[in-house]
């Protein structure tokens, strides 16, 4: 029996082994938890049947399901969510029926939170959640802003996540390249989720309802990424009232309008750059004439009765960036994202969820040389996808997920070299993936997630058919759970990264060409998690990631027939520790990572540029009276690798030797470099602070943030200029502010 059949058999047996399938005297509780002020779903909240100690967490859409509840009885249901008043009410469960609920929670003030004992109820501790972090807009707000509050920059504060500089929001996860992360915007891949030069993301944090970030070990319903998945769920828009907000920072201004429509809601938001003076601080006081905008919208329509309906949503995200120099001798750059999707979300009469999507994601990056020596370049990637995900919740709490997607991807990459040699390295392909995963949640002490992805039709030419995944949570003691995960991950699209570039402006995304293997990695993760008190949690994880193949730029290509990309391998390993303390009005978190990363290309093994041995992030928030809030963040990491210059040699000038020449007059000094990334830059550390105040003026709600970045003006080295050896430092001390006025 081959591996695939064996795996399928295990899955089928798992489903068949369902002892409580035909229970007669039990019923089901199903519901959605929403904010009473705007009816936005509240994800990752807690629901508990007090008398039974039986509970569930709300999913990222705010839904919860509790099955196998003894029927014909009235229970006390407790629903809690951080920042909201816990709600307690009676509910009667009917036999063989789904009792539907809509729970509206009322926000509580910080003061109330400190007085009221918030009931942190039984979470589903057996649900495998290794290497997963949930992110709320509030967490993004708490992080001091360099230019804009930003989800992708917030990720860099998590253990195992590494940013290579203050300039860019690009990130590396557990020793993986930055092109091994997949950002899903309401299920749609965003292939280049950054504004100009990667400064911050194109996704406005004000439209985010929640995010889930998987640093590894993700289950079979996520694929096409080797290192991480960032799943962003946007909000639906205020279902109760029309509202809006205007805000401005030193860089941009934005507006948001949201409100109800018959049987639904909408939001529309737009952000536009207004000045780029502040950006000079990020690029060593160089001019960075960036002009950008992003806009997004969502329209929801569905039956207002929650349990009986199907919800349709149409959403889109559009961004444009231009980097235009007045100097005709400097090239211009353009970036554009066009993302649109239609989603149909259905909740069935039996406890199942069905998610259908038709989506389109396009990324375009262009270099216009004007009168410079640089040649034009164009990258245009279009992804049209149809997806269907199905989740069935069994009587015994087990969950069965099945899904399929079909993608049509067209990647174009036009390059022109110095000899005006034109190359089109694009591909048009159709691919399809399916997944099955089964979560054993029937046991109190252990949860197992067993699944696999099937590459029915590959976009890239060569790769494995099956990607098995396995993860578990085992409750060793009431307060301590052990976790583990192992899985195979593949990726078919890649951004071409030139490792020699500290900062790049042309980041083409292509399908991995036919002459290379599809990118492939294996994750092995173990962890331990404890929550000794309601206000304290400690998580530790160890990981080993083996990258069997990943495309990398052929830096030594010098003949046209040689490939642009080579296959590289890599490995990374390390340990992560995160401590969270939530003792209102004080919140504190510390994360530490000890990690090693290696990459091997053409038989040469080296540490990639983002390899940092120690990473420490400390953050502290103090919620002061009268809606004041103070947060501070200290980041430390040990120095990144770099390649030392060791001297010069004299070489014939490239332009002169066809003519009659004197050899001694045609020589130019050429840099000699040492072994790649063999030296280390100095350690990086930075202290940031943010002070926020919320004012209420009748109808208006005003938020004012003042951020101070790099308070002690640490001169963190960014790189050495290769032509002069001049040291270039990262962001100096910077004071920024944001004003937001909402109705």
């Amino acid at each position: 029996m081959n591996k695939q059949k064996f795996y399928l058999l295990i899955l089928l047996l798992s489903i068949a082994w369902n002892q409580n399938l035909f229970s007669q005297e039990k019923g089901t509780l199903r519901g959605i938890v929403v904010d009473s002020t705007n009816s936005e779903a509240l994800p990752f909240g807690n629901v508990l049947i007090k008398e039974l100690g039986l509970g569930a967490s709300t999913n990222n859409r705010g839904y919860f399901v509790i099955r196998s509840v003894p029927a014909n009885q009235t229970y006390t249901l407790l629903v809690s969510y951080i920042g909201y008043k816990t709600k307690s009410f009676n509910v009667k469960v009917e036999p063989d029926k789904i009792t539907e609920l809509e729970v509206r929670l009322v926000p509580s003030s910080i003061q109330l939170q400190t007085i009221e004992k918030v009931e942190y109820l039984t979470e589903e501790e057996n649900v495998p959640d290794i290497s997963k972090t949930t992110i709320t807009p509030k967490q993004i707000e708490y992080i001091p802003k360099g230019v804009e509050s930003d989800l992708l920059r917030a990720l860099a504060t998590l253990p195992g996540v590494q940013s290579t500089g203050d300039v860019s929001a690009k990130f590396n996860v557990r020793g993986g390249e930055s092109n091994q992360n997949l950002v899903l915007f309401d299920g749609i891949p965003v292939y280049y989720p950054f504004h100009s030069i990667g400064l911050f993301s194109v996704i406005d944090p004000d439209i985010i309802n929640n995010g889930e970030f998987f640093r590894g070990g993700y289950s079979a319903n996520y694929g096409r990424a080797l290192s991480s998945i960032l799943k962003i769920v946007t909000k639906d828009g205020n279902k109760n009232n029309f509202s809006g907000s205007l805000s401005a920072s030193l860089l941009s201004a934005k507006a948001l309008i949201e409100g109800p429509i018959p049987e639904g809601s909408f939001y529309i938001t737009a952000r536009k750059s207004i000045s780029n003076d502040v950006l000079k601080k990020f690029v060593n006081e160089e001019e960075l004439p960036v002009d950008f905008y992003d806009a997004s919208f969502k329209i929801n329509y569905g039956n207002s009765k929650f349990f009986s309906g199907t919800k349709f949503s149409l959403h889109g995200l559009f961004s444009r960036d231009n980097l235009k120099y007045n100097d005709p001798g400097r090239p211009d750059y353009h970036w554009a994202n066009n993302i649109i999707g239609l989603k149909i979300f259905a909740v069935g009469e039996v406890p199942f969820f069905l998610d259908l999507g038709i989506t389109y994601s396009n990324f375009k990056n262009e270099l216009l040389p004007k009168e410079s020596d640089v040649k034009p370049k164009l990258n245009d990637l279009s992804d049209f996808s149809i997806t269907a995900d199905f989740l069935y919740i069994l009587e015994n709490k087990d969950e069965l997920g099945i899904g399929i997607d079909v993608k049509s991807v067209a990647s174009k990459l036009f390059l022109v070299n110095r000899f005006d040699f034109k190359a089109d390295v694009g591909l048009d392909k159709i691919g399809s993936n399916a997944f099955v995963n089964y979560k054993f949640l029937r046991f109190e002490n252990i949860g197992i997630d067993l699944g696999a992805r099937f590459n029915i039709k590959n976009l890239a030419a060569k790769g494995d058919f099956i990607e098995p995944r396995f993860s578990f949570n085992y409750l060793l003691l009431p307060l301590i759970s052990l976790k583990g995960s192992v899985g195979i991950y593949q990726q078919e699209l890649t951004t071409i990264i030139d490792e020699r570039e500290v900062l790049s402006l042309f980041d083409p995304v292509v399908i991995i060409p036919d002459y290379l293997e599809k990118s492939k990695a294996a994750h092995y993760i173990v962890g331990i998690s404890t929550k000794p008190a309601n206000y304290l949690s400690v998580d530790a994880e160890g990981f080993y990631k083996k990258i069997f193949s990943a495309p990398t730029l052929n830096e030594n290509k010098s003949l046209y027939s040689e490939p642009d990309l080579l296959e590289s391998t890599g490995e990374s390993y390390g340990g992560e520790l995160i401590v969270n303390l939530n003792f209102m009005p004080v919140e504190f978190s510390a994360s530490y990572t000890l990690a090693w990363a290696f990459k091997e290309v053409d038989g040469v093994k080296y540490s990639p540029r983002y390899d940092s041995r120690h990473n420490l992030n400390l953050s502290f928030t103090y919620n002061l009276p009268d809606e004041w809030r103070f947060s501070t963040n200290w980041i430390y990491h040990s120095g990144f690798p770099y390649t030392q210059q060791i001297g010069f040699y004299d070489k014939l000038s490239i332009d002169d030797f066809l003519n009659e020449y004197d050899i001694y007059q045609t020589l130019l000094p050429i840099n000699i470099f040492g072994n790649k990334n063999a030296a280390r830059l100095t350690d990086y550390h930075r202290l940031d602070m943010i002070l926020s105040k919320r004012f209420d003026f009748n109808l208006f709600k005003v938020n004012l943030d003042i951020s101070a970045i790099n308070i002690y003006n640490r001169k963190n080295i960014y790189y050495f200029e290769q032509s002069t050896g001049k040291r270039v430092n990262m962001l100096p001390f910077l004071l920024t502010g944001t004003l937001k006025i909402g109705i």
């Binding site: 040649k375 003949l559 770099y642 210059q645 010069f648 070489k651 050899i663 790649k676 080295i717």
Partner: protein
């Protein structure tokens, strides 16, 4: 209060110390290595080489080096792979010429009477006084063989059934992996009233580029292609320009156009192509690409072959278009 002040002072001092810039050198340890540069040419029997020690300067500005790093006393030798004959370069201090970079007498190695044979592999070996050895090899490409059928036979060429926008030069045996450089020269004469004739040799621009609002001619066309197309309009504009301001057009006589094709070996092709396919324009790079092909050190060893073709001008065309004569003596 004293405690509070003391704490503040401690914090301030700590912040001051950690905010300081830590010193770190971008320069690694310089190894004891050498660099040699030779490009063998088939258009001359006089070959030159430059051998030097690698160096570093304190400020990482190579131009601040004041002493020529040239190394003399080494044995620099060429040898065909299929023969035992050695061709040894001589070193010289050429007091009649100055190395402009160091403002010192020119120093180099030279080899007289060596016209490289095309199609053969040739080895370079350098034995340095301290025992170090450098080596490399190349194969001289065969000269191109012009494709007369697909080349323009005369200028402007037969009009009927032909594209006369370009003067076309094609060849048949070019390796599409290797770069060919094309260069075009116009030789013309000007006859004074006294009857004295002066010869002029000018490179013909093949295209123009605009750099910083200044239009600059491009005289060498590099390509993998096995043909060179010379734009008629550019050629004619250039030919008009040689007599600009002079009404006595008939005093000019034009020799046949000279087209030179340089076939680069693989080493030179790599040298010219390196880092070009992803030459991201902005770039803040910390590790630029480079091609060095010397075993045991740095530098470059390459070769090219050279072929010339002449294309005659039609007398009527010269007279009617420019008022020039055709040079018959050439």
């Amino acid at each position: 209060m004293i405690k509070f002040k003391f704490t503040l002072i401690i914090i301030a001092v700590t912040l001051f110390i950690i905010s300081c810039e830590e010193n770190i050198s971008p320069i690694g340890e310089l190894p004891n290595k050498y660099s040699v540069n030779i490009v063998l040419r088939t258009d001359t029997a006089y070959q030159t080489a430059y051998l030097s020690k690698i160096y570093v300067t304190e400020d990482l500005n190579a131009n601040s080096l004041e002493v020529d790093p040239f190394v003399d006393g080494a044995k620099v030798m060429l040898k065909y792979s299929d023969s035992n004959n050695e061709y040894v370069f001589n070193d010289t201090v050429d007091n009649s010429n100055t190395n402009d970079r160091y403002n010192t007498p020119a120093q180099y190695y030279y080899l007289n009477n060596f016209l490289p044979s095309t199609g053969k592999e040739i080895q370079l070996a350098v034995d340095l006084p301290d025992g170090s050895k450098l080596s490399s090899k190349t194969k001289l490409p065969e000269p191109v063989v012009f494709d007369l059928i697909n080349s323009t036979p005369f200028i402007p060429g037969p009009y009927i059934g032909n594209d006369t926008q370009y003067v076309k030069v094609a060849w048949t045996n070019g390796n599409s992996e290797l770069i060919k450089a094309g260069r075009v020269t116009l030789v013309y004469y000007y006859r004074e009233l006294s009857g004295e004739k002066t010869k002029h040799v000018k490179q013909v621009p093949l295209s123009y580029v605009i750099k910083n609002d200044i239009t600059e001619p491009v005289y060498v066309n590099m390509s993998y292609d096995n043909n060179l197309n010379i734009g008629r309009s550019i050629l004619e504009e250039f030919m008009h320009s040689i007599s600009e301001g002079n009404e006595s057009k008939a005093r000019y006589s034009i020799a046949p156009l000279e087209v030179e094709i340089y076939s680069f070996d693989e080493n030179l092709s790599r040298y010219y192509s390196a880092d070009l396919f992803f030459d991201f324009g902005f770039t803040v790079r910390n590790f630029p690409g480079d091609v060095t092909n010397i075993e045991g050190g740095y530098g470059f060893f390459g070769a090219y072959s050279h072929t010339k073709r002449i294309i005659k001008f039609d007398q009527q065309y010269l007279m009617n278009t420019f008022g020039y004569m055709r040079e018959v003596t050439n």
